[in-house]
Symmetry: C2
Subunit: 410 residues, 2 copies
């Protein structure tokens, strides 16, 4: 039995950003996150205690023409000659790295391992980036038709509008909520409320919620793929995140507050949307959730705080339904009603989510872990959820070709 056999003893990440990291390479971003991770270990740790490295990275081939990153990052982190492995499952790469690291420790092969993710995206222009990220979808049967990630999630939104009557205005409240949370997170790319942006553009102060919605429906928030506008989409980001795992036995030497890995769910789904019967759900995520809940022996209602994969606003709507937090079809309305806010019944994306914290693709999974770790330890400062004891992570590769759901307990 693997549940609770492995614990998190430290976590660190760079700020996620675009222009801030322009002069830094993947290796520099990673080392920055790693050093913070070492510092975060309560009773201290020597980097020589680390026995293996599992690093998520999606397509650095396009970003820096650099593959074989595992070895390079082990070297730059002063970790040679430990074994190092790159893991790739599109946008779920680093949560998958955490899974592999957990299994490696649970197997008895290692006591302490470093897992993480890194992505340096600012090297490409937007058009090149769209092309690069399309490699995560089916190049033979889906992409040749001209569709890219925003278009696919737009179709999922439209199907949900049609089937359940949810609206774009409801989706907008997801973006507003995530920007609010990011405004409280010093690691976030956009530390601003949308209303602040609206005020700035209008050169006014104190605009109302109605003004904010008007702003979001104005040309200042242009369409990317109907019905999704710019503020429905996560940005291009640079960043890295790292987590140190230890066997439960060893963890006590490093911290009195380990965070246990209680549930590991990981499933694959069809790469192409057209191979699915229903666009309003991601079947692999539903299955991954069931697996994680079963392993952790809990139910959706037991989760105190959750980070979900909001690469686009409809993705968060679908996620919170697929995970069983809300009845199918209720996700967008639940957001509109504030039920997923910091003070709601199930706070979602307390760190600002992919939307506002930023989405350096393969760094996202372990950055979600970073936030869950902060929340469960009561260290999330202004965005702290009271009495958070059980946290969940939901990380999707592309449109659900991969789905990872993980559960953590204090």
């Amino acid at each position: 039995m693997i549940a609770d056999k492995v614990a998190i003893i430290g976590a660190g990440m760079t700020r996620f950003h675009y222009s801030l990291h322009l002069g830094k390479s993947t290796r520099e971003l990673f080392v920055e996150a790693f050093l913070e991770c070492l510092e975060s270990v309560d009773k201290g740790i020597n980097h020589k205690d680390i026995e293996a490295l599992f690093i998520g990275n999606t397509v650095n081939e396009y970003f820096e023409h650099q593959s074989h990153l595992s070895s390079l990052l082990a070297d730059w982190s002063g970790l040679l000659p430990i074994p190092s492995t790159r893991i790739e499952t599109a946008c779920a790469s680093s949560s998958t790295a955490l899974e592999i690291g957990t299994l490696a420790v649970a197997s008895g092969m290692y006591d302490i391992v470093l897992v993480g993710g890194v992505e340096k995206m600012s090297t490409l222009q937007t058009d090149e980036m769209t092309w690069a990220l399309m490699s995560g979808m089916d190049q033979a049967y889906e992409c040749p038709l001209g569709v890219s990630n925003p278009g696919l999630y737009a179709m999922m939104a439209m199907a949900h509008f049609e089937k359940y009557g949810s609206t774009w205005e409801q989706l907008a409240t997801i973006s507003i909520k995530n920007h609010h949370n990011a405004s409280l997170n010093p690691k976030a790319q956009y530390q601003s409320e949308i209303i602040d942006t609206a005020n700035k553009i209008a050169q006014k102060k104190g605009l109302s919620f109605k003004d904010e919605m008007d702003f979001l429906q104005s040309p200042s928030n242009p369409y990317v793929a109907y019905p999704l506008r710019l503020f429905d989409c996560s940005p291009i980001s640079d960043g890295a995140s790292t987590v140190i795992l230890a066997s439960t036995e060893k963890a006590k030497n490093f911290t009195d507050t380990p965070i246990y890995i209680s549930g590991l769910g990981h499933k694959s789904g069809t790469m192409s949307l057209h191979d699915r019967n229903d666009f309003t759900t991601i079947p692999s995520a539903v299955e991954a959730g069931k697996k994680a809940y079963k392993m952790a022996k809990i139910e959706p209602k037991d989760i105190d705080v959750a980070m979900v994969h909001d690469c686009f606003t409809p993705a968060e709507m679908i996620a919170i339904e697929d995970l069983g937090f809300f009845t199918k079809g209720e996700g967008a309305r639940a957001s509109e009603e504030g039920r997923t806010s910091l003070t709601g019944e199930i706070p979602i994306n307390t760190d600002g989510g992919l939307k506002a914290k930023g989405h350096p693709i393969a760094a996202t999974g372990t950055a979600m872990v970073h936030e869950v770790w902060k929340q469960l330890r009561g260290e999330a400062e202004k965005r702290q959820v009271p009495n958070a004891n059980i946290g969940l992570l939901h990380n999707i590769g592309a449109t659900g070709g991969t789905a990872v759901v993980q559960i953590f307990k204090r």
Copy 2:
């Protein structure tokens, strides 16, 4: 303790080739290898018995502009919704996938998993290929100086010639031996002796060994990077290889002849050659070997048959020294003396090696496993090593940024 907790119950691979697979994509190559793998299981297996997929692939981003291969291959293999993960450690990707698969089974998470590797290289021209494969070396501090893989291994050869007095003529005997072995292997890309090629070009029959060496030193065998000529280099290949792993307990349901995974060695080294003190050895490989021997509780002299990473002839020379089969400096002479031939004291690369079997990068590791599996089961036909009970695999990423050594027992 992980040694002998996991066993191989089946293995399958495509023929490695260049032109033969021109019309096939990565997914088709993989499924071909997988179907043979299913067929190879002695007592039969249902593909529904497989619980997870770990797939090695290096840089399909360049070859097919397709990442997220794990999910795609799980789908095309009829394995949805099982978890699937892509592993990348340059040329050692699929042996690393086997390691991860072994740890996953040893952890108790799964009983039966599929591991493998696939590479579709024939989509690129030679110049593009050189550029693509350079991504596995340090793009910041090594490649900008204009060096590529053949040049780096050429430097390693020159250092060995200088330090130990080994010669190019001795290296040529490695190539001659591996082509001979490949001539006995129906999965090999080049199923021909070099002497046959020499005969063909000379339009003669029955050329002598001296004629063969004259041919290898003629313009028909041009320099790639001095002192390495064309026949010192592994070719560009398409191919896939797959292996099914099971817990030792479950393995008995599928075969009476499981092959046990007894030693797992994996170490990282500096990406750049200029960061090393000595070019005549690959430190990560020496360390990985020690780890594997220790875990398997054996010594180099106990190995009956070994597949080593001969991407270039000096790589095989260095490998058989690093692994302790021969004293440092003796590797090339040992080859010249026939001590590594099929009938020698330690048969090396019985399948033809990367040189003549072919080297579809990430398919190489589990293809080595395929040959070890055949040899230990006594099914290697004309290239069978008598009484082979313990086999070894040595798989290098780039010039040693990654090194994997694994030991298998009957």
